[in-house]
């Protein structure tokens, strides 16, 4: 589904990613871990197509090099980014926002816009997945939301848009244990054999809820170590210091 080959990324001439390779197949859950400032969020942004980076290498999504694809086209093709810091859009209700998003995607695939009735049905169905309260739906996108509400809203949007590849950037940051459980349960419920998830996290605790098939450690702009979930546990025990020592 996603093949990243020798990806180099710089911002203003400063190299952040120095040759990242990653292979994600349908049905898999990958965790990318690493200390702060090692380029985890940069990787997520570059896959989503954010401008402002100098990039080289290859990102192949569903057999296609996506370097030249616009952000919105990547999204419509099935790449979803759960943001670490979701922005506020004052005056735009979540319902209106999602209706626009869902219909833009349908338009891209030559489908008719969804009727109001069908849309509401879809909302009701997906609301249960992430246990999102109804009154939140009427509020403006992320405006005045607590950290937990913002993250839940991200997972709800993911549920509504049914992406092929979901990249969750530090979805666990700023969540208490209950919110974490709800968010993680939502992600687990949305898991399907044809979809893949990449979880970016600093801590192991999220991986108690979302069990990864592969764990990668990103350090110094490279994936320095890959393994299964036991690698995450090892990290939890020993901290990042041994990585820093080994690969500095």
């Amino acid at each position: 589904m996603l093949h990243i080959k020798d990806l180099h990324v710089s911002i203003n001439g400063r190299e952040i990613l120095k040759g990242v390779n990653l292979d994600v197949k349908p049905g898999e859950v990958h965790a990318i871990m690493g200390p702060n400032g090692t380029g985890k969020s940069t990787l997520a942004n570059v896959i989503a197509g954010r401008e402002g980076y100098e990039v080289s290498g290859e990102i192949i999504f569903e057999g296609q090099n996506i370097f030249d694809m616009a952000v919105e086209d990547r999204a419509r093709a099935g790449i979803f980014l759960g943001f670490q810091y979701p922005v506020e859009i004052p005056g735009v209700s979540i319902m209106n926002f999602l209706k626009t998003a869902v219909n833009e995607k349908r338009k891209y695939y030559g489908q008719e816009a969804m009727s109001a009735g069908d849309f509401l049905k879809l909302v009701e169905e997906k609301k249960k997945v992430v246990e999102i309260p109804s009154d939140l739906m009427k509020r403006s996108v992320n405006e005045g939301f607590s950290g937990g509400e913002k993250k839940r809203n991200e997972i709800f949007q993911m549920a509504m848009l049914e992406p092929k590849l979901a990249i969750l950037d530090e979805t666990d940051s700023g969540l208490d244990i209950d919110a974490l459980r709800i968010v993680a349960t939502g992600v687990t419920r949305l898991k399907k054999p044809e979809n893949a998830t990449v979880v970016i996290t600093h801590y192991q605790r999220l991986l108690d809820f979302i069990v990864p098939d592969f764990v990668h450690i990103l350090y110094g702009g490279r994936i320095v170590k890959s393994g299964d979930k036991t690698l995450a546990m090892e990290l939890e025990k020993q901290g990042y210091d041994w990585i820093k020592k080994e690969f500095a």
């Binding site: 989503a48 954010r50 401008e51 402002g52 616009a70 952000v71 919105e72 999204a75 419509r76 979803f80 980014l81 943001f83 979701p86 922005v87 859009i89 004052p90 005056g91 735009v92 209106n96 926002f97 999602l98 626009t100 998003a101 833009e104 995607k105 891209y108 403006s140 949007q157 848009l161």
Partner: protein
Amino acid sequence: MKEDESQDALNEVTGGEYKYGFETRIEMDTIPKGLNEDVVRLISKKKNEPEFMLEFRLAAFRKWKEMVMPDWAHLNIPPIDFQDISYYAAPKKSEKKSMDEVDPELVDTFNKLGIPLEEQMALAGVAVDAVFDSVSVKTTMQDKLKDLGIIFMPISEAVHQHPDLVKEYLGMSVPVSDNYFTALNSAVFSDGSFVYIPKGVRCPVELSTYFRINARETGQFERTLIVADEGAYVSYLEGCTAPMRDENQLHAAVVEIITMDNAEVKYSTVQNWYPGNKEGKGGIYNFVTKRGLCKGANSKISWTQVETGSAITWKYPSCILLGDNSIGEFYSVAVTNNFQQADTGSKMIHLGKNTKSTIISKGISAGRSQNSYRGLVKVMKKAINSRNFTQCDSLLLGDKCGAHTWPYINVHNKSSIVEHEATTSKISDDQLFYCQQRGLDSESAISLIVNGYAKEVLNKLPMEFAVEAQKLLAISLEGSVG
């Protein structure tokens, strides 16, 4: 998003074509250019007006001659040669009694503008007065309204049929010599709408006037007068468009509203005069005075405006809160793009006790445009326990436009409370990226964000109008983000 790319997106969203730029070919009765007493007399004669109207006009003209054009606004106004404008243009055959007698060209024109003049419009719950250049060509539903005692007719007819009402109220809330343009309008206005809602009557339909400028080298000077008697209520809509032309055209209207005890008037405008092209050539100069007088106790006047058009807008819909407990409201979204200039806002003059006013102004600037809010809140000594709340927000799209705020606050007693809040923001790259990551292209993203920003005001518009206004905002801003 990179600088140049966001500029591209900005240009795409703001580059929307003006949809109403066509011209109607029709035989016109136009008087020669120039303005003097004879022209004023000629206009009055063409309308076969009673003597009091001619006197009103001549007095106004004499005032105007002594006045100079105001230059305090944050506007760069090229000199206007008032002798190079024709002050009266009417389609020939403008005599009308029924639909059959309206020139088919005109019916067609208004159909193209989405304003059907057939009585079927009644189904939509809107009565329309259609003004084409200097004259009203059709007023729908008049008979039905008459049963309720509601008068809704061209002011040129009201002068004949209800001279006492016109005499009593014309110039009451906007004195002839209020400013340069009110004096000019009072001297040469040719038509507009007159509305009278009798005591205790709630007007069951929206009343609407649609103004269309068509003729070249003419000005449009319309006059609207709305009187709501005790306990009456009416919601009134105004729309306007003009052909695309390279030369500028002048529009100087006056709208007066008067409310008696417990009466309420809601006045909504979607102003979409031709704004000029992308290089700033052509477009309407819009110098408008709108003022409501809350004459009676507990009366209320609300102005809601969506301003997207005109090359230059100079407009401050205001309320004079004379009656105790009266309420004035002003809700505005003003969009400027390319080389448009707008200096708009409101005045709330508190005279009565316990009077309340609210001003919500949302400016959106794009391109190289300049968008200014100018507002005056004045609370007089006797207006004890009065309140004003003003919120004035500016949204900038791109980095070549300007947003300015000039609030004037003037309070003469100690029991009143005046609040002013102001914000300036830009559509951030983060917001755009977030929307795009959800599959919206930059244009839909901008349109969504802008409509969200303006929602508080758009919500105040009557339903059908709100949908129109949302579309209009999107079109006006096609191509604009940074």
